[in-house]
Symmetry: C2
């Protein structure tokens, strides 16, 4: 077993945003020397990692040269140059999640085909190489309103996904490869995080329930455990495991799913990394998703995924109408409430809907936690000076 | 209310050891810009704080000049130059805990007099300006073996405290101001951490029980909650609160106490900071002691001090016979056990009894947690390559 703790071992992370920042809390806990690559000198990780390198995550040379400096490479975000990862892997570097897996996940079209090939339930879809193809499809009555449009590449938290209800909506879509899905009326959006290490040890976190902001398509509340039927929860976990196994995944895989009106589970998409739907785990779980990510990529034994208490997460996103130096209005008010913990991501500038932090609410009773979460949401505001 | 989060506010911390390192996890969570002063460029905090300054904590100029750079000053360790703090405070800097309090606590003789003056129960003691005075006392039958010798200044975790049983022990004591106490046969060593903010809001953590290594005089297990009678626990909390109130304390105060054979509580000593006896709180409590320290010195509302689950802490100290580049033998073995979290402090070199890290064991059942703690203690070893 490689000696990672307080040693010369160097972990490399592509991306220095908030997910990297929360990962650093864990690499610091284990004293694992961590180098980070990000394009911005003001990235949330910039001042608090052992080594910070500036470079473009989508640039071959930047990623390749960074990879040559580290002993093991992981990602904070999946939108990275995979060609560079392939070359690094060919040259012997261990990279988790594996580049081949990232290549599939990077493209929503490839992701959907992967689900079909592996008999993983997912919403029916159509695939278009260009926007023009989609417009033809509409003219030929192959797709009809409303439908869900997804950019094939680099969709992330509300960008790259649109519900298309009218001809105007269709006209305003950006160019490029895309897929369309039928708009499915669902009961719940659920997510399950699966951890899998190189030895094949696998653990699933409890099913969480997500409530989205109606306009911004960003998660407002993540509720753990999901308040759903135990059988549905079990099915969701089984499907999440099936996805992780199909990928022969190593690392953390967040599987987002729909629970349909008929209690069917459909996989929506996956993220090959720590995920917003797992932030509650820092306070609520025996093992936070960030520690678990480290355990999985270092092939350490996986930690217990059960919760100590119920957990709810509220995203702190920039209020509409405010851009500039950030102020967290009323943060002291919410800190008066038992079991409320704010996390501030270290971004100095706010803008509408920008993810600036999150707040975790933990309580023995999930209904009480949900009430407190509502109060937190109504009280704290991310504005500018 | 001052805006601390993601702002220009700069927190200064005197000392960059493991306590500072665990504090940084919290300043990072709240995005509070943190500058640290420590004498060693290899200090556990050196690479992961926003600003790191090298200087001697006992040197007037080093402390004063550092203090002039920050908006609020706190300590990680109490052995700092108080004259510099007095001058900084005179010049308007907010310093918590207050320099006047630190001056009392720095000296075990002043601490003991303070307890007597404030009718806080403590073991009877005698005070000597020089070792020679103590030797005279012995010759004149004023003290008799066995007794406890404590250096008046800068005792820390096993240094500066000795049980004197023989004339040889007496001869081998170091020079300097000291106190002696009767050796009290006690049932338990207990500790209570009190948090108090500038507004006077006060919260106490549950009473913990400490088991010491017989030779090194270092804590081996900290058990929360202490397995003692509820009435004794309540008395211990009341006395701890009384100490904090007597100091008009701001910050975190760890009050170490003896439970005598007759269930009397005697205050042994206090630490004006986060403390080894509170490390369990990271995993077990609703609010970790490090977050609570921040809340108290920033005059934010204090967090809930109750536990989610039972917690036990095992110190990871260097094994006897090993000096050099550290290796944490069998750390993967203990990580296989549910609810076990190692914390590695980032020291590259081990030596006998050096504090290198700790392991927290959390479980719903405290007896199970204690069994696991024993197993952890027997399994993991801090050795050198």
């Amino acid at each position: 077993m490689k000696n990672y703790f307080s040693s010369d071992f160097k972990l490399g992370v592509l991306g220095g945003g908030q997910l990297g920042r929360m990962l650093l809390a864990e690499t610091q806990k284990f004293d694992i020397y961590t180098a980070i690559l990000d394009s911005s000198k003001d990235a949330p990780c910039a001042q608090i990692c052992n080594e910070f390198h500036i470079g473009d995550l989508l640039n071959f040379d930047d990623v390749y040269n960074f990879g040559k400096k580290v002993d093991l490479l992981t990602i904070e975000i999946e939108n990275v140059n995979i060609d560079a990862l392939d070359k690094l892997e060919d040259e012997g570097l261990t990279i988790y999640p594996k580049p081949a897996t990232l290549r599939i996940i990077q493209s929503k079209a490839r992701q959907k085909n992967f689900y079909v090939d592996n008999t993983i339930p997912t919403a029916d879809f159509l695939h278009y190489a260009y926007l023009e193809e989609l417009k033809h499809s509409y003219q030929n009555n192959i797709v009809d309103f409303p439908f869900v449009w997804k950019s094939a590449r680099f969709g992330y938290d509300g960008t790259g996904v649109k519900i298309v209800r009218t001809f105007e909506d269709l006209q305003s879509l950006p160019e490029g490869e895309c897929i369309t899905e039928k708009l499915i009326p669902f009961k719940n959006e659920l997510a399950v995080i699966v951890a899998r290490n190189a030895s094949g040890e696998t653990k699933t976190y409890p099913v969480v329930e997500m409530e989205f902001h109606p306009e911004a398509n960003q998660v407002e509340y993540v509720i753990c455990p999901a308040r759903i039927d135990q059988k549905v929860a079990q099915k969701a976990q089984e499907i999440a495991l099936k996805v992780a196994d199909a990928f022969d995944f190593v690392g953390l895989l967040a599987v987002e799913m729909f629970q349909t009106q008929e209690d069917k589970i459909l996989v929506n998409e996956v993220a090959p990394r720590t995920h917003n739907s797992g932030h509650y785990s820092i306070e609520a779980s025996y093992t936070s998703q960030f520690e678990q990510h480290l355990r999985s990529i270092l092939n350490l034994p996986l930690g217990k995924t059960e919760s100590k208490v119920a957990g709810i997460m509220v995203n702190l996103v920039g209020e509409e109408g405010f851009t500039g130096d950030v102020v967290y209005e009323n943060i002291e008010e919410i800190m008066k409430i038992d079991g409320v913990t704010p996390h501030i991501y270290g971004k100095k500038q706010t803008k509408p809907f920008r993810k600036m932090g999150h707040v975790t609410i933990v309580h023995e009773n999930i209904s009480t936690a949900r009430e407190i979460a509502q109060k937190v949401k109504e009280t704290v505001k991310v504005i500018s000076k």
